[in-house]
Amino acid sequence: MSVRVQVEDFDIGAEVRALTAGHADIGAVVTFTGTVRGESGGKPLSRMTLEHYPGMTEREIARIEAEAHTRWPLQASLIIHRVGTLRPGDNIVLVVTASAHRHAAFAAAEFLMDYLKTRAPFWKKEEDAGGAGAWVDARESDDHATRRWQGATGKG
């Protein structure tokens, strides 16, 4: 299990290789990469800034990651979340889950992303071409996505 909050970009291939090296018991690796889209609410986006709560963010993500390991049989997992100023096309977040079987790896990655969207203390401020900035509102649909895991039966 590993959690990193960092300004630097990441390389998916290198992260997966490092995470799975030496494991002969992994059959399935799922990665999710969130990237900055070039528009927001129909308007062009020039850049965004991600703020976090140092200390709490890492702890909150580690808690969620540990919960994923109790729900699904995972051999390894990794969560990287970038902070600072990002531009369209840039990577924001990487989630990697590795399991013997694909359904566990898929379910755990989706679970982690749903929770990252709704529980981990990150805030996005978007800037349009004119430099006007606006904080992103939380999405109702993300809260719904997270709630579907509450009461879920565990092993998937």
Binding site: L50, Y53, M56, L116, A120, P121, F122, W135, A138
Partner: protein, 85 residues
């Protein structure tokens, strides 16, 4: 007793500060009490906490309800709903 208060995102922008150390009076027992008390400290606080129902509270870096007790709090944070990922 002095407690560290931290503000994030637009709460930070509106209060004009990322954090401060405050001595809380005895009648401030919950996050909601603290919000009400902070709103009296000046117009920037009044604006930051104009809609307390959208403000999230963390005590000692854990999410809590605004009605939860602040007993034992060393660090209290206020922020909007999170928008990560």
């Amino acid at each position: 007793m002095s407690v560290k208060i931290r503000y994030f995102a637009w709460v930070r922008e509106k209060t004009g500060k990322a954090e401060e150390d405050l001595d809380l009076p005895a009648e401030v027992k919950t996050g909601a009490d603290l919000i009400a008390w902070l709103k009296d400290r000046g117009p920037e606080y009044a604006e930051a906490f104009a809609r307390p129902e959208v403000i999230r509270v963390a005590v000692n870096q854990q999410h809590v309800k605004a009605t939860a007790s602040l007993a034992g709090a060393r660090e209290i944070a206020f922020f909007p709903p999170v928008t990560g990922g």
